[in-house]
Symmetry: D2
Subunit: 140 residues, 4 copies
């Protein structure tokens, strides 16, 4: 089975926007994090599960993003989520926001480190989690 | 055709929660507003349309809410949206959040006034909009 | 010493606003909660302290608010915070937002219940906390 | 007069945090944007002024950030804001979050492009605005 992006449809809400009429910058990351949470749930490692049972943590240590074209309230976008890097204990997730005609209007990336929940020390990505992530592993 | 509640499924996200582990109070209203926007879009009066074409505005003038039971990250809830009052120029919307077993975990209400977009003066609810709202009009 | 309102100055930020150009409704409560947290810190019962040392919890069980006049990005407001009710185990906080000329542009209220942190059962307001709250206790 | 960083004190609020007990990632950018808005107001180019009088726009086209150490509710941080790049029509702002003992707990950067408000086309940074920015211009 070959890897594929995880697709997350999203409609821009009033609370995503600001008085300039477009998505407020920080909300791009909130929206991408919703897509990330949906992907994690699909892979069997939902954030709710990780918070409750604490097998390991996946704190976010880096993020970056670019706005190519403004998005407005009511716009429909599809967020394509890919795991683009898997290292010993960290992974990088890339998000591409596209309008219905395929235009990329924004992109973002987040880097997560797998840690022991008590000590917050990095540990190798557990094998089962690595296998799950590989479902959407599409290195650039 | 008899009126029915508008149903909006929602999964509690990490960004909805706070360090107490449950939904941060103000986010209840953000979530209910997402349900309201989805209902308005279904009725043909999306907020994006109202902002762009400005036939009239529907500013929110009041809101209230109650938390009956804490909701946590990953919890699935269904928001039942009802128009419970329609006056000359204002309407009241009631939101009931239920867990999958039917337990009400929170409720909220918002009151909106229909205004002329330029002057912000209240005007009667336009007939076409009133007819649309009646689809979910279930006075208490 | 007679009780006085707790005063919290605030400048409306871009992220408080939405595409309609004014404060997004739910953000009124986020802003009032900032004022509440500042008051709690002043009284010696900061939320950070309550979360860390867990002597008791103060979950929010109700909120309501009214918008009298739209506020825009850069507007300066003062939030007057009063404890308006103190019952056996709950208290009600009232927030009045005023522009520099004294006009009330919005108001809100929150009700909190004092609970045991482990069982989440309501307990009487501890005496030391009740004494602290009385500094801003101004029943209506 | 030599350039200096703009300093913005901030106390981490409950709404900044999430159920993992620390600042929710996207909120780092919301907080940095508050610092940016305060700096712009100090320089005489407040976002409220730009939105109202529309002499030009400064949309954010890029942002990136790193979390070095978790911040919790009630933590006091100082955000040091520097303009680190000024090009023909864009500028880069760097934010460094420090705890009271000077430890850097997070950093972020935003890139803004100066545009004509009607066409959204990039224009050279106006001279008066460039002079204002130079007050905090500290290239790396």
């Amino acid at each position: 089975m070959s890897a594929e992006p995880f697709l997350f449809p999203y409609t821009v809400s009033l609370h995503d926007s600001d008085a300039a009429g477009i998505i407020f910058s920080a909300n791009l990351f909130r929206i991408c994090h919703e897509a990330y949470e949906a992907m994690m749930a699909e892979l069997g490692f939902s954030i709710g599960y990780l918070l409750k049972h604490r097998p390991f943590g996946v704190p976010l240590v880096h993020l970056d993003g670019d706005f190519m074209q403004p998005s407005r309230v009511g716009d429909h976008v599809t967020i394509e989520v890919r795991i683009v890097e898997m290292n010993r204990s960290s992974y990088r997730v890339e998000y591409s926001l596209r309008t219905p005609d395929g235009t990329a209007c924004a992109r973002a990336a987040t880097v997560h480190v797998v840690v022991e929940t008590k000590t917050y020390k990095s540990i190798p990505i557990p094998e089962g989690f690595r296998a799950a992530l590989s479902k959407h592993y599409l290195p650039e």
